[in-house]
Subunit: 192 residues, 2 copies
DNA sequence: CGATTCTTTGAAAACAGTCAATCTGTGTGG
DNA sequence: CCACACAGATTGACTGTTTTCAAAGAATCG
């Protein structure tokens, strides 16, 4: 499980073996079965998580019970609730597994330690945050400016790997449209 | 113009007088009249900008000519097109002034210099990016999960200061709904 | 005051959402 | 191994909302 992470991080940083060893020593490895939860709304999100295998989803539930998916996290990606994690306040999101997954987690305390002592990791993390910003900004633009069909097409284009693995109604939830609308779009595209 | 910035940054960091002086020496002050542009789509966004007075808007234009507002930047806030600025690639956004504004700008090169030599500024900037992330994530959630009326109410609640200064059709553009819908909502709220 | 910008409105059309039912494929437990 | 339950996808009928387009008022600015 850690092996995948090590490969991943070595490709993106120039951490030393010693650095990796420290990072490993503070890592918590966790297996999550499909549908198992890693964070419930109301709890503090205590971990920064790396998905080394599988697929997670971050979602919020409104009063009426409807879900809205904020993020999919396939293997080789990071996830957490940043605001809850940083400020140690209760999260409004849930994180659970859409597939059998393997996750590596660090507490805030430990991650801060790594952050302070491994400059390469710090630089990498900061770059990641910035890149994430590009993506989220683009998503805001898409969601306010695109038609449902455009959103659907963009999703398939941007996340083919996720698209192939999640049920349609979750794509709908991610895009902010109803499953009905997605069905209609798909039907129309077939006919064409 | 720089005075407002100095007050602002001193309240949020513990920069020394010397630090401030360096920052000032690299700052470009610019007056922008209402409707004047600071960035056209297709250009590289060469500056990181602090709005010391006035109100800017960042928006994208689709092929059909319709605008979508990504961000309002009132006095005491920062703006740029992060991706264009960081990577020196052409921007897809425009930035212009909704009011007479006073803006302080730094090039990427100069900002990098400040970044490298003024740890307090670096720490502040990074915190800012992270906080911005919270806001944008919240916006994504809102825009995929809220009704137009909820979006409208949230906007007034979150940005009363901006709301009071921009025409309704720009609020609509920011929220991703038509002006018609906003009018209807307002009418309904009046009747109540 | 005239010109421009902004807001509201009406009517019609397009669109998306709800609800309920059906169909499918999957997988589990007996 | 089969039957059954279950999750997912699609569909139809209906409803309700949003958009579009155009036009008319209202407000603002020079």
């Amino acid at each position: 499980m850690f092996a995948e992470f090590e490969t991943f991080i070595r490709e993106r940083t120039d951490l030393s073996d010693a650095d990796i060893e420290v990072i490993r020593s503070l890592a918590i490895e966790k297996i999550v079965r499909k549908k198992e939860s890693l964070l419930h709304a109301g709890e503090v999100c205590r971990y920064k998580m790396f998905v080394s295998k599988g697929l997670l989803r971050t979602f919020c539930t409104k009063e009426d019970g409807s879900d809205y998916i904020l993020q999919f996290s396939p293997e080789n990606s990071w996830t957490t609730d940043p605001e809850s994690f940083d400020k140690l306040i209760p999260s409004v999101c849930n994180i659970d597994a859409l597939e059998y997954s393997e996750v590596i987690m660090w507490t805030k305390e430990d991650f801060n330690y790594l952050f302070a002592n491994i400059p390469g990791l710090k630089a990498y993390t900061q770059k990641l945050i910035v890149q994430n910003m590009y993506v989220v900004r683009q998503r805001v633009l898409s969601v306010i400016s695109s038609t449902p069909e455009e959103k659907y097409d963009e999703f398939i284009k941007n996340y083919p790997n996720v698209f192939a693995r999640v049920p349609l109604h979750m794509v709908a939830s991610y895009l902010g449209v109803s499953t009905k609308t997605l069905s209609r779009i798909r039907h129309a595209q077939l006919v064409r």
